[in-house]
């Protein structure tokens, strides 16, 4: 049933951390960036705001608390273009919610992650462009595939073929045939003739 729904409404998978069977139908697209990011003279970080939902008591958000205590200030100082909200919630699982410039959001549950893993997930959200997890059809894309001009069946074809009427007698035989015995004899005969005259 979920397979069928996926086929009709191509919903991307919710979170990278949630279990996803790759036997399921996954929506796919070609690689692209919003507004050709990085083509101009600057790169714009696509992560707009980051919300960390954390509990002060539960063991599940231990690593999150540690990260907030030790690394959050440093992170905010290094990346002033990201607005960080810390949202304490009593007795619930810690979450990481990233909202992006294009209006998309990414949600990552942080239960039982240690400090290093939290750091990893935060930077994962930071370096994404925010559209949900698509399967990429190809790893590369170009708008101008060839400078020389794209091949057609008519490139490198002799140009006189259009003026002929088909079937054409000149085009029936082999292009470079071997010499037959008859031709060899004739040639020898010619040579003998020239030798006699000289």
């Amino acid at each position: 049933m979920s397979q069928f729904l996926r086929r009709i409404i191509s919903l991307p998978i919710q979170s990278i951390r949630s279990f996803h069977s790759f036997d399921d139908v996954t929506p796919a697209k070609y690689i692209s960036t919003h507004l050709k990011n990085g083509l101009g003279s600057r790169y714009v970080c696509q992560l707009q705001r980051l919300t960390i939902q954390v509990c002060k008591e539960f063991r599940t958000s231990y690593g999150t608390r540690e990260w907030i205590a030790n690394d959050l200030m440093n992170f905010a100082r290094q990346h002033p273009y990201v607005v960080v909200y810390v949202q304490p919630r009593r007795h619930r699982a810690p979450n990481l919610i990233g909202e992006y410039l294009s209006g998309d959001r990414q949600w990552i549950p942080l239960s039982n992650c240690d400090r290093q893993q939290i750091n990893w997930w935060v930077h994962s959200l930071l370096t994404q462009q925010g559209d949900p997890q698509w399967r990429l059809l190809k790893q590369m894309h170009t708008d101008s595939p060839s400078i020389q001009g794209i091949w057609t069946p008519f490139t490198n074809k002799p140009n006189d073929l259009i003026t002929r009427t088909y079937p054409d007698k000149d085009l029936i035989e082999m292009e470079y045939p071997q010499m037959t015995a008859t031709q060899q004899i004739q040639e020898l005969f010619e040579q003998q003739k020239t030798n006699k005259t000289t």
Binding site: H34, L35, K36, L39, G40, S41, R42, V44, C45, Q48, R49, T51, P80, Y81, V82, V83, Y85, Q87, Y100, L101, S102, G103, D143, S144, I147, G149, T152, P153, F154, N159, I162
Partner: protein, 310 residues
Amino acid sequence: MVRLLRYGTIFGPLKDRWRYLYKNDLYKRRIEAGPEPERFRSSLINWNYDAELYACTHRFGEKMNIESLRNAMTDASFLNQITKQRTEAGLAATDQTTLSFTHNEELAKRGEEIAENFLRRALQFWYPKFPKEGIDAVMEFLISESTIADISLKLGFKTLIRCDGPSPRPKMLKNALFAFIGAVDENNDRSRAELFVSDFILTHLVGKDINEIWHIKNPMGLLTKVLEENGRQAPESRLIWATGVSSVLSTYIVGVYSNKEFLGKSAGATISIAEEMAARDALRRLFETDEKRASIPFDKLYKHGLLIDK
């Protein structure tokens, strides 16, 4: 906590008759209630407008005063709404002068002027042989409301704009982007604003063919006109290749020549289409905008002398 109950089976939470009816009723009520109404982003608990504005100045690497950015992001409709609310609350018109901010109409005008001026100069610099009408058409495409609103949306201005509705209309998005450019001009210098235009508006041309943005209605007529102006003979078209003539997938390749000199060629499903496309191809070769032409070097436009001449 592990959920051991299995939904959707008779052993799950729908096992009891009353529970099934209860859930069913809840479901029906939710359907009746209709979709969730659109809400302001600022109505959520994690929202700090000053922090958002501060991040916005750093995002594009512009040094700006927060107050001028706040003005740039304030739409006229927001101001109207506030005055309306105040009159409804019984405040006199004289008390309404205490508002510390203005709307962004003037900044938007200023930004639009900068953008138009710069885009025209950049296009004329990189495509010197492209005629003026073509550049006008490309400009119209780039400055159009849909394009600018799309750019503004992708730059994350949607949540920053202060207006009367939860989702800003394209007109507001456009005003916000141009006002941002105006604010950059106000706080920094002109070159910084132009750099912003080249980085975010001019890059919209990547992957698009400017020959197609400017739609020529009669390419053969234009080609004869252009050739006449250059003092060359009128164009002649010749069939170069034809295959599958009587089949569904027929292909004709037609070349355009002037005084036995090659101008351009193209393929088409019929001879008339191929001839028309060949004329277009000849035109874009004459204008030096064909696919062999390098794309605009966005990061190096300034080194090529676009800014220095000012």
